[in-house]
């Protein structure tokens, strides 16, 4: 029998980036907030300190900072005709856990989506006509526009101290920035990070082809910075242990560096760790949440009543929370009905490897997670897709983030996978190779979705989430096209050998390709194709808000985090100025 605790105003499920920011906003506005985090507390000192943190085997290969897959994995299949099987070791995507969530171990790549992305369905139809898209694709508009989110993007970037160079200030194109970006009200809070040699080579080559290279926006800071919360961050030293690691220098923007000290000092907020939320509880009408039930580290079941429940989990876990709680109608691909789990998407990643002679010294180990040089000329809808047969695109960049040798030892095709031939090729190419990242969009299609697995369970006895996903043909066509553009740049760099590796199907869970899982609780204006409205409020249970990249109807050409930060502030505003003053549907369902 669950022990019932004293009611609070707000329960925040998951104290990662979203939960930290929201909890701080609401606690500062005077509300009593409880944050429930399944993982542990951790702080820059002592948990993120060197030299122990610079351990490739532990953090990169064995995923020490990631969600405990021994107790809570995910099952997967490419198609509905197959049986979903557990992902027994994380590889393709690496959900985080613990205070600060995945933003403790992220790479710091901080982007805005473009205006076009938020109205993708409408604008694609307008530009290319109705028959352009594959009928299986389920492109949708978001219900919110770039212009509405712009001040929140700005606020998020200034919270993090993101280092970059504006390309479009209030409509004026700025030299040295990205000319394709949608207008910004002001420049980044800190200037771009220093350019890596691979970025310099890329920049010259890309410019020579008429493209528009610019420094990748980075939340690994280029200089000391004090954010609007009064928290001081330091200069990144390019240690090359960014993604999958925590930063010892207070230089990577994580909740620990940009907000947690302020949140944790507010007596209106109570953090409880080691709490595995089992479900959001509903009353008999099923239209109102009464709070949540969770199990703590000692196995005790507790009920936390609350007036408002906000689930701020990692995208796939948000989907699962709604399914386990019976909030919203689960999606059925056979009928096309239902919404929870619908429009699951990912990221379509390709690479180009440029092999140089041994007199060209690259030093790949000197890097931050976002110290790249890149172009958006082939991203989003920045180029004319007429006749190409696909929608979407990729940013292309010399995004060198590390040279950690267990996982990074590039060799040209035809190299044996072991023996003297392998070893000699590794030595020959390790310090003389430039890898491009081609970071491609991911459209949604009706066959890709998430639901609850019928067989496998987590350690608490609840069904696991099952992901059914394969790359839409649209995205594989896009990958071919952008990879060919990337190879052109590689050749223009003067490399001895340039190898393009466009993403090919089927999607495999056995190779890392980003942790940019999106969709499943999508936002929109139409309850028949979305789970939450434009304020990320559940259409079915108005005192439940669902915040995560699970809100994205499809994924764009850039990393999701920047946009999620903007949405978080957008929702915080809506909660404080509208919902909490007058609870109820903010948009009529």
């Amino acid at each position: 029998m669950a022990q019932r605790l004293k009611e609070v105003d707000v329960v925040v499920i998951g104290v990662g980036m979203v939960g930290s920011i929201l909890a701080k906003e609401l606690a500062a506005a005077g509300y009593k907030v409880v944050g429930l985090e399944r993982g542990t507390t951790r702080f820059t000192v002592p948990e993120f300190q060197s030299p122990g943190i610079h351990d490739e085997l532990r953090f990169d290969v064995r995923k020490a900072l990631m969600q405990d897959n021994t107790r809570e994995p995910v099952t997967f299949r490419n198609h509905s005709s197959e049986t979903g099987l557990p992902i027994r070791r994380w590889e393709s995507f690496l959900p985080g856990t613990g205070l600060g969530g995945s933003m403790v171990h992220w790479n710091g790549q901080t982007f805005r989506f473009q205006a076009n992305d938020f109205e993708l369905a409408t604008r694609t139809r307008e530009r290319y006509g109705k028959g352009f898209l594959d009928p299986d694709l389920t492109l949708q508009d978001w219900g919110v526009t770039y212009d509405e989110l712009e001040p929140h993007y700005d606020r998020f970037e200034y919270l993090l101290g993101t280092s970059g160079k504006a390309g479009n200030l209030k409509g004026q194109i700025q030299p040295g920035g990205d000319p394709h970006e949608s207008p910004r009200s002001r420049d980044y809070p800190t200037p771009p990070q220093k350019e890596h040699y691979s970025g310099a080579l890329f920049r010259k080559a890309a410019s020579s082809l008429g493209h528009h290279p610019f420094p990748q926006p980075s939340s690994n800071l280029s200089q000391p910075y004090t954010n609007p919360e009064g928290l001081k961050m330091n200069t990144c030293v390019f240690c090359g242990f960014c993604e999958r690691y925590a930063c010892e220098h207070y230089a990577k923007s994580t909740p620990q560096t940009f907000i947690l000290p302020v949140l944790l000092a507010n007596p209106n907020f109570e953090l409880r760790t080691g709490c595995q939320v089992q479900r959001i509880n509903l009353d008999s009408s099923k239209k109102r949440a009464t709070g949540v039930t969770y199990i703590d580290n000692a196995g005790r079941e507790l009920e936390q009543p609350a007036s408002l429940v906000i689930t701020c989990l990692f995208a796939i876990n948000n989907i699962r929370m709604l399914l386990l709680s019976g909030i919203g109608k689960p999606y059925d691909p056979a009928t096309g009905k239902g919404v929870v789990g619908r429009n699951y998407a990912y990221q379509t990643m390709s690479t180009v490897a440029s092999f140089f002679d041994e007199d060209v010294i690259i030093n790949p180990f000197m890097a931050s997670g976002a110290s790249g040089t890149m172009i958006n000329d082939f991203a989003g809808d920045n180029f004319d897709h007429s006749g190409l047969g696909f929608v979407g695109g990729a940013f292309i960049g010399a995004v060198n983030t590390n040279g950690r040798p267990i996982q990074y030892h590039p060799t040209p095709p035809g190299t044996p996978t072991w023996g003297k031939g392998w070893k000699d090729a590794v030595v020959k190419h390790y310090n003389h190779t430039v890898m491009f990242s081609l970071h491609g969009s991911s459209v949604s299609q009706r066959q890709n979705y998430a639901d609850l697995d019928p067989t496998y369970k987590d350690a608490w006895g609840q069904p696991l989430l099952r992901i059914t996903f394969d790359f839409p043909k649209n995205d594989l066509k896009m990958a071919e096209y952008v990879t060919a553009r990337g190879v052109e740049i590689g050749k223009a760099m003067g490399a001895k050998q340039v190898v393009g590796s466009p993403r090919k199907g089927p999607y495999t869970t056995q190779q890392y390709q980003t942790t940019h899982n999106t969709g499943g609780t999508v936002m929109g204006n139409d309850p028949s194709t979305s789970v939450v409205n434009r304020y990320l409020q559940s259409w079915d249970v108005p005192n439940v808000f669902v915040i995560g990249a699970s809100a994205y109807p499809q994924n764009a050409s850039w990393n999701p985090t920047g946009t999620l930060g903007a949405l978080t502030y957008w929702v915080a505003d809506a909660l404080k100025s509208k919902y909490l003053k007058s609870p109820g549907h903010l948009v009529s369902p």
Partner: protein, 204 residues
């Protein structure tokens, strides 16, 4: 704070008298016969320090990027060849046994050790050894050795970083750190490093 001076005794009197390298005679006058420094806050140990670091400091003194009237004048007088010889010489010297031992209180020793290997979350200060190497023995091409350096010198430098009197730290890395330390922290961490013996030169 009390200091107990340790005196280095030379076995060979002839070595004590002769300058091993003519170019370092000027250096020895202040930094000691064996580059061991002087416990007055102004003359650090040079012996066993990283050549790369010593070279950069001399260049910075010469250009004014690091502000010191005496060292500025001396550094300006060094041409590239001489400077190279001098720094290589000092880098090659064995690190002498620490000249001073701050008999720190147990709490200070604890605090100094903590700052060195772990940092302080409340002050948002990372572990010094992250950059300065295991046991503060230095990381070649990145950060100088702190182990066995004179506490008074280290404390004076931290104060300069704090007050803006020293600005030649790339990326403002040291001024960011120093600005967050209070006097008790400085006393603790400098006495900790001064008391560490470093038996290998900073450049591994």
């Amino acid at each position: 704070m009390k200091y107990v001076l340790a005196t280095l005794i030379l076995l060979s009197a002839s070595v004590a008298r002769a300058a091993p390298l003519p170019e370092v005679a000027t250096c020895q006058a202040c930094h000691g016969v064996h580059g061991e420094g002087v416990v007055d806050g102004g003359k650090p140990r040079l012996a066993g320090q990283s050549a790369h670091y010593l070279d950069k400091q001399l260049r910075d003194f010469a250009s004014g990027a690091r502000d010191n009237a005496i060292m500025g004048a001396i550094a300006k007088g060094l041409n590239d060849q001489t400077r190279s010889k001098v720094v290589a010489f000092y880098a090659s010297l064995p690190v002498p046994v620490p000249l001073e031992h701050a008999s720190a209180t147990a709490a200070q020793a604890e605090r100094g050790h903590q700052l060195a290997i772990e940092g302080a979350e409340g002050k948002r200060v990372q572990a010094c050894n992250n950059c300065h190497g295991p046991d503060g023995s230095g990381v070649a091409l990145s950060a100088p050795a702190l182990a066995g350096q004179l506490a008074t010198y280290l404390a004076a430098q931290l104060k300069l970083w704090q007050q803006g009197g020293r600005k030649n730290d790339a990326g403002n890395l040291m001024s960011s750190v120093a600005s967050k330390l209070d006097d008790a922290d400085i006393a603790a961490v400098t006495s900790y490093y001064a008391g560490l013996s470093a038996s290998t030169p900073a450049s591994h």
